[in-house]
């Protein structure tokens, strides 16, 4: 029988997964920047990749991951340092960051995916 996953545990699981994901992304991202040293043509060829539909959609995921990890990180910091009784406060903050993540995802997703429909990308 499984333990039920409530707000706190869900946010922690996501924090962990997104943390590992961003770490791996960051390494690949920096390695990709080596093209800057190789030469202009190579770099320009490399960044064309970011402009493909696949990367545009993947980048929405990346944005969500970073938003969740960052906002949840702030939530943890606030819980740790505020000294406010945690039970209700932590859940209140949980819903605040769910709201903020969605709120910030909306314009971000729009900006990332808009070129797909305008035919600029690809």
């Amino acid at each position: 029988m499984r333990y039920s996953i409530k707000e706190g545990m869900l946010s922690w699981l996501l924090h962990r997964l997104t943390g590992i994901g961003i770490f791996i992304f960051l390494i690949i991202h920096v390695m990709g920047a080596i093209y800057l040293k190789i030469g202009p043509e190579e770099w320009n060829h490399h960044v064309e990749l970011f402009n493909t539909p696949f990367f545009r959609v993947a980048e929405v995921g990346l944005m969500g991951a970073i938003l969740w990890h960052g906002l949840n990180g702030l939530r943890i910091i606030i819980i740790d340092f505020s000294g406010i009784r945690t039970s209700h406060f932590a859940k209140f903050l949980f819903w605040i960051i769910v709201f903020l993540t969605i709120l910030l995802m909306l314009p971000g997703t729009y900006i990332l995916l808009k070129p797909l429909f305008e035919g600029v990308a690809g």
């Binding site: 920096v30 920047a33 030469g39 320009n44 960052g70 990180g73």
Partner: protein, 139 residues
């Protein structure tokens, strides 16, 4: 009296400090890459133009260093949670730290030594600069 010597205290504290910095740095980076330039305009000379100003080089270097150390620290904290992995802690930590160190070194090397190739900027027409001249931004 201070108990900073208790193992793990510094890592815990650093995780919070670097996290707070990162959220600001990454926010600026995101606005910068996706809202101001746009991914379709990340050509060589966009980067050259951006890194013309030392401010942006410093921002990117800070993000790299904080991000990698924060990430490595986080992964180490995850590994420590699992008893079975902890037995081989020394190997895992070496592995994680080596990866982060290499990434930081390569990243800093790019940021510090990057200088646009002679004539390369002229070779490419910069759509970014054109668009900015016209409307202030690419939108």
């Amino acid at each position: 009296m201070s108990y900073k010597k208790v193992p793990g205290t510094f890592a815990w504290w650093f995780q919070r400090i670097s996290g707070s910095f990162l959220i600001i740095l990454i926010f600026i980076h995101f606005i910068d890459v996706h809202f101001i330039f746009g991914v379709e305009n990340l050509e060589y000379e966009t980067v050259a133009e951006k890194w013309n100003k030392p401010f942006w080089r410093i921002m990117d270097a800070l993000m790299l260093v904080f991000g990698m150390i924060h990430g490595a620290n986080g992964i180490e904290s995850i590994l420590l949670d699992y008893k079975k992995i902890r037995k081989y802690k020394a190997y895992w930590f070496f592995f994680i730290r080596a990866i982060s160190a290499v990434t930081i070194i390569i990243g800093s090397w790019i940021i510090v030594t990057f200088s646009p190739e002679e004539g390369s900027v002229a070779k490419y027409e910069s759509p970014v600069a054109e668009m900015r001249d016209e409307s202030g931004s690419h939108e």
